[in-house]
Amino acid sequence: MTTSLNAGPPSAANPTAPERAPAKRRHGKQRGHSVAYAMVAPAALLLVMFLIIPVLLAFGLSFTNARLISPNPPRFVGLDNFIRAFVGDPTFIRSLINTFLFAVVVVPVQAGLGLVMAVLVNQKLRGTTFFRIVFFIPVVTSIVVVSILWRFMYQPDGIINSFIDTITFGSWEGIAWLSNPSTALPAIIVLSIWQAVGFHMIIWLSGLQTIPEELYEAARMDGAGPWQQFKNVTWPGLRPTMVFILVTITIAALGLFVQIDVMTQGGPRDSTTTLVFHAVRRGYREQQTGYGAAISLIFFVLVLAIALIQRFLTRDKD
């Protein structure tokens, strides 16, 4: 890491730092206190304002009928919003199911493909750096751009249909991927993996590179073939990386929103609606802030559960 993007704000802040510091060491601790508080204050204040309070607010609002704007003041409604979610709002249930479906497919496929790609570009072959860059390019491309681009490619007369038509020698009947309830979610899964897999390739790769070469040499001495080397050296060495990757992909997958917002708006027939999309639709577009907060809270509990499972898995390893 020799290149650096930032211009170095610390030196910009420098002139305000006084040079005169007569304090002796025994006062150091006390002075350290107030300076330390001053140093963490901006970050702490901002985190309280824009993280802690909103979390508490999500909790509080979810028991009210608050609206973004309403002539009526918010009223406490108990568990109504939660009951409505699970009993009176099938779209919420569909959102829950779709979100899980998405995660269930994306997590293993993206993790697996990322690992394959990482192993490929980790070979001692010429040009792997080039391939590494190419595989990573979609990651630096905005997901909004990616969604619009793929929406264009998924048109009935778009390039995806025409490509399938070509490789099947014209026997393909072009389909409207995004307006068919059975193909819309799979279509979104494909582009989501396409966009994000490079990220996890890099993480796998950094995991691979922590495995000492001597282990491979030793394995080869023992006559292990490539598969056995992978099974006995690589895979055990990647254990911590794997947990991290699975958790980050899962949490990212559960947060699916942009693709839906840009490509399908949750349709057709709720086949692509997701938890976050539903929370935004109910809580923001329909202004039912209280209900939207309740959906957000349910989502948060899910993520929390997954984080705890991660804790459990990693602790198991220690």
């Binding site: 802040a13 305000t16 730092a17 006084p18 005169r20 107030s34 300076v35 508080y37 001053a38 140093m39 204050a41 901006p42 009928n65 609206r67 973004l68 704007i69 309403s70 002539p71 009526n72 409604v77 409505r84 009176g88 709002d89 099938p90 779209t91 009935p156 409207a176 307006s179 309830p181 708006q265 349709g267 057709p268 027939r269 709720d270 923001y284 577009r285 329909e286 202004q287 039912q288 209280g290 209900y291």
Partner: protein, 429 residues
């Protein structure tokens, strides 16, 4: 302690830097200066150059006509417009003047985004009733035009297939209409009618809820405005849903296509159900062969949607800006401008006087038939609940189009609408 203070200073400086540039980016609303009072104006017409052109003309005429006020405009694409208004209202950033789709007026009036219009009643009385937005017996909005939907057809095609040409007095019945579609399908049109299902948003309730009403259903019980139960999921509504679903299931109407009337103009579809705003293009493409027909009667008379975009004034607009906003609106309701909107944008002028001035809707105008259709216009429910009714109906109708169970979809729509009304304590009904 010095260092702590230095840090605090740093924090303040950076906060000021941020807010400083925040304000620099915005309109320097010169309420403190000597110049004319700036009246901000938002429109939804970013995607519609013809409409925007007339607005720009009015604004520059108005700004040139006096020195007290200056109207400054900003335009949004229609799809994002309502979100923009809601968020602006939430933070008290609404412009003085804003346009709005007719059916949303009660919601915005109820929620306190807009105030009673307060312009001369002489003007509002002269307008088509569907071009005036009311809430609680007060006028909150007024528009320069109304739109109308009709069935477009080619005379030669109908005659060649022995399909009766309907009239305003004797429209097609539902059976006749379906038979006509099947005949056209048999005559080789891959899609018998383009009903614009590829469009999104307000188009859905605007275009299709009148069919629902012609079947005898409705979006909400208009006696109480407290529930949609029994009207949006009753047998009449289910009949509508099944008919609607059948259009797509039988391939009579298409799901994908391009927004607009191009397919009809290119003779790729037999009929189209579309708006007056597309009529000129079709006259150019089809010529004298073009027929503008009333929608079919499914039992309760033919119906089309009424109420188009109208102008209102934000609730927190006050002082010279409020005077300016009213002055601008009164200035703008000039017959010449109304006729200009009508002829450029191809919509039905809202006043008699403008109708006579209009090239297309005047006495011998080519689009005169549309003015007759306005007698079938029905308003979408005048209730603050309409905001949710609209999106709920759109989703239910799309689900039905895509093959969902009709009764289930409508029951769900009723549950969603009723839950919203209940959450809002009945919206004052």
């Amino acid at each position: 302690m010095k260092q702590g203070r230095a840090l605090a200073a740093l924090a303040v400086v950076s906060a000021l830097a941020v807010t400083g540039c925040a304000r620099a980016g915005e309109d320097p609303n010169g309420d403190g200066g000597d110049g004319p009072a700036q009246v901000t104006l938002w429109t939804h017409s970013a995607g519609n150059p013809a409409e925007l052109e007339v607005y720009n003309q009015i604004i520059s005429d108005f700004n040139g006509s006096q020195d007290d006020y200056e109207v400054v405009s900003e335009s949004f694409p229609q799809g994002a417009y309502n979100d923009a208004i809601v968020a602006a209202a939430a933070s008290g950033d609404l412009p003085c003047l804003l346009d709005m789709d007719g059916p949303i007026v009660p919601n915005w009036a109820w929620a306190g985004y807009i105030q009673p219009l307060g312009i001369s009643s002489e003007i509002t009385d002269s307008l088509l009733p569907t071009a005036v937005g009311m809430w609680d017996d007060e006028v909150y909005s007024a528009g320069y035009w109304d739109a109308a939907l009709a069935i477009f057809a080619r005379q030669s095609v109908l005659e060649a297939n022995d399909i009766r040409i309907p009239t305003v007095d004797e429209p097609w019945t539902g059976e006749e209409f379906d038979a006509a579609l099947r005949t056209l399908q048999g005559a080789g049109y891959e899609t018998a009618i383009d009903i614009g299902a590829e469009d999104v948003g307000e188009w859905w309730p605007y275009a299709y809820s009148p069919f629902l009403q012609s079947f005898g259903g409705d979006l909400i019980d208009r006696d109480t405005y407290l529930s949609a139960d029994g009207v949006l999921n009753g047998p009449e509504a289910v009949a509508f849903g099944e008919w609607f679903q059948g259009l797509f299931a039988d391939g009579l109407a298409g799901i994908d296509g391009t927004v607009g009337n191009e397919e009809f103009n290119r003779d790729e579809v037999g009929l189209s159900y579309t708006g007056v705003w597309n009529a000129l293009g079709s006259i150019e493409a089809v010529g004298d062969d073009l027929l503008i027909l009333p929608p079919p009667d499914f039992g309760n008379g033919p119906k089309i949607g009424g109420g188009s975009w109208q102008w209102g004034i934000a609730a927190d607009c006050s002082g010279p800006e409020l005077d300016g906003a009213r002055a601008y609106l009164e200035f703008s309701f000039d017959a010449e401008y109304i006729a200009a909107f009508a002829d450029k944008q191809i919509v039905i002028p809202a006043t008699e006087e403008a109708t006579e001035l209009s090239e297309y809707f005047g006495e011998d105008g080519q689009l005169r038939p549309f003015t007759e259709l306005t007698q079938f216009a029905v308003l979408r429910p005048e209730t603050p609940a309409y905001a949710v009714i609209s999106t709920t109906f759109e989703r239910a109708a799309k689900d039905i189009m895509n093959g969902a169970d009709v009764q289930e979809s409508l029951d769900q729509a009723v549950a969603d609408i009723d839950a919203d009304i209940e959450n809002n304590d009945g919206y004052g009904f």
